[in-house]
Structures are given as structure tokens and as C-alpha cells.
């Protein structure tokens, strides 16, 4: 039983890591796009690259970025719920 759980955890971790990387890259590029539009339409003055760099640094510290870690948390909850529903309800 423990071997099977370990195997599930191992492959699950690999799949979820791939998803995590794609998701964080996508989210960051969305944020970059928003910053670029914000600069071009509202700020307009100053150093464009520095503005975007600072915005992305703020994004890296934000809660929104840490929410992507939910990619690892949600499936564990789903699996626990599935075990309960399938076997004990």
C-alpha cells in the first residue's frame, strides 16, 4: 500500500510541477502585459523597463503569486474527498 501511495505521490508531483511552471510563467506574462499597457496608456513618462521591472518585483512578493502553490494543495484535497465519497459515504 505504501509503495502505491509513494508512486502516486511521485508521479503526481511531477505532473503538478509541470503545471505549476506553466501556470506561473503564464501568470507572470499576463502581469507583464498589463504593466506594459499601463505604462503606454497612463504613465508614459520615465523609464519603461524600470517601471515594468519594479511592477514584476512587486508581483513576485504578492499573495496572488503564492496562490499558484494551490496547484499542489487542491489535488490533495480532491483526492481526500474522493476517498471519503467513494468508500465511506
Amino acid at each position: 500500500m505504501f509503495f502505491q501511495i509513494a508512486r502516486l505521490a511521485f508521479f503526481g508531483f511531477i505532473v503538478l510541477t509541470v503545471l505549476y511552471v506553466i501556470l506561473s510563467w503564464y501568470s507572470r506574462s499576463i502581469r507583464r502585459g498589463k504593466l506594459e499597457t499601463a505604462f503606454d496608456e497612463e504613465v508614459k513618462t520615465g523609464d519603461r523597463d524600470a517601471f515594468i521591472k519594479e511592477g514584476l518585483a512587486r508581483y513576485d512578493r504578492s499573495l496572488r503569486r503564492k496562490l499558484i502553490l494551490g496547484v499542489y494543495v487542491v489535488p490533495v484535497i480532491v483526492v481526500a474527498a474522493l476517498i471519503y465519497v467513494t468508500n465511506f459515504m
Binding site: 502516486l8 503564464y26 483526492v79 467513494t86 465511506f88
Partner: protein, 223 residues
């Protein structure tokens, strides 16, 4: 070539459909007539069998629980009742013994039928001797209950949304990372082309000068 491409597309579509048709849960309204346990030696069909009870040892053959059932129209269906454990498909079913007891409890005769809904996945195939795996069972009032497959609706919707999202991510990635490189490559190619043209012009000039020089050797018409 076009037939080949369409062949591949149709094959992939069939495989995808088959995969989901096999894996996603379905519901049958049946009457359970009997439950049994019998020894199964897995052969070529071993891929269509799940795992032994969780916590027990794996062997080449083992006892498998079966649930025999009859549809309202008199056709029969036999389900296997196996743990899926921690493996594929992810039903996390660990309670085959309990399910067997519930099924035994709901068994009835054609004289006094008790209708049940059996949730299952998998296919029955007589050529391969494979059976759908029962996941849960519950009694219902009559054989004509309406069942809405909520789980399948949710899973397939999420799948479509996920594929759409992946496609958007890919397009974004292409726009930002691949297209600029391709454009640069195209520009580089254009400049190579231009240089080649210039070289050819110069070469023609050089050749022309050469011929002119050679021409000076020619004997001039005598006056």
C-alpha cells in the same frame, strides 16, 4: 498524404473517445441477481483488470468478486468488483468487500424485483473476457429513474477549458518568444539575400571589366 493525415486525426479522436468512455463513470439501472467470487488468471486481457485489494500482495492470479445483474429489458450484465486503490483510474476505491456486501443485500428475484443503480466504469467484452468495474450501488424506486451525470459534465467541461487555456498559453508563448526569433531570422535572411544581390552586381561589374580588358587584346581591325 491527405488521407494519411485524416487517418491519424480520426485515430486520435477514436482513442480519446475510447479512453474517456472507458474511464469515466456510467450508471446502469439493473436488478442484482447474484454475487460471486472466482479465481481469475490474467492473460492478454490483464490491462483491463484493476488491482488486488489494497494492502494485499500482488500475484499472477487472484480471486475477483463479481456482481451479476439483469437490465429491465432482460439483458444481462456482469460487473467485476475490484479495488482501484491508488492506481489508475483514480476512483480511489478501497472498499470492494463492503460493496460486495451491499450488492448481496440488494439482490432480488424477478418475481419481486428491487431496482438499483450501479455506478461503474469500463466495458464488458465477451471476446476479451473483460468486465466493467462496479464503483458503488444504491437502491432506487423503479427502473425508469433519471440520472444526470454531473461528474462527467464537470470533468469534460474542465477538460475543454484546460485545453483552451493551454492553447492560449501556447499562442502567447509563440507571440512573445518564437515569432520575434522567426522575424529576426527572416530579416537576417533578407539581408543575406541583399548582400548576395550586391555581390552578384559587383561580380557582374568585375566580369564585365575583365571582358573589357580581354577585349583590349583583340586585334583591332586594320585601318
Amino acid at each position: 498524404m491527405r488521407y494519411f493525415k485524416w487517418g491519424i486525426v480520426i485515430l486520435l479522436a477514436l482513442l480519446t473517445f475510447g479512453f474517456f468512455h472507458y474511464t469515466l463513470p456510467q450508471h446502469d439501472v439493473v436488478r442484482i441477481v447474484d454475487t460471486e467470487v472466482r479465481r481469475v488468471d490474467f492473460g492478454e486481457n490483464s490491462i483491463f483488470w484493476a488491482s488486488p485489494d489494497t494492502g494485499t500482495d500482488t500475484a499472477a492470479n487472484r480471486d475477483v468478486r463479481f456482481i451479476n445483474a439483469v437490465y429491465e429489458n432482460g439483458r444481462v450484465m456482469v460487473y467485476r468488483n475490484e479495488d482501484t486503490g491508488w492506481g489508475w483510474p483514480p476512483y480511489f476505491k478501497l472498499d470492494s468487500s463492503n460493496l460486495q456486501t451491499e450488492a448481496r443485500d440488494l439482490a432480488s428475484t424477478s418475481a419481486a424485483p428491487r431496482w438499483v443503480v450501479i455506478r461503474h466504469y469500463g466495458w464488458r467484452n465477451e471476446f476479451m473476457t473483460i468486465y466493467p468495474n462496479a464503483v458503488s450501488v444504491r437502491g432506487v424506486a423503479g427502473p425508469d429513474v433519471q440520472i444526470i451525470p454531473w461528474l462527467n459534465i464537470i470533468i469534460l467541461t474542465l477538460l475543454v477549458l484546460f485545453i483552451f487555456w493551454l492553447w492560449r498559453v501556447w499562442r502567447r508563448f509563440k507571440e512573445r518568444r518564437i515569432d520575434p526569433v522567426l522575424d529576426e531570422a527572416a530579416e537576417a535572411w533578407d539581408s543575406v539575400d541583399e548582400r548576395a544581390d550586391a555581390v552578384r552586381d559587383r561580380a557582374r561589374g568585375f566580369w564585365g571589366r575583365m571582358m573589357a580588358w580581354v577585349g583590349t587584346w583583340r586585334s583591332k581591325p586594320r585601318e
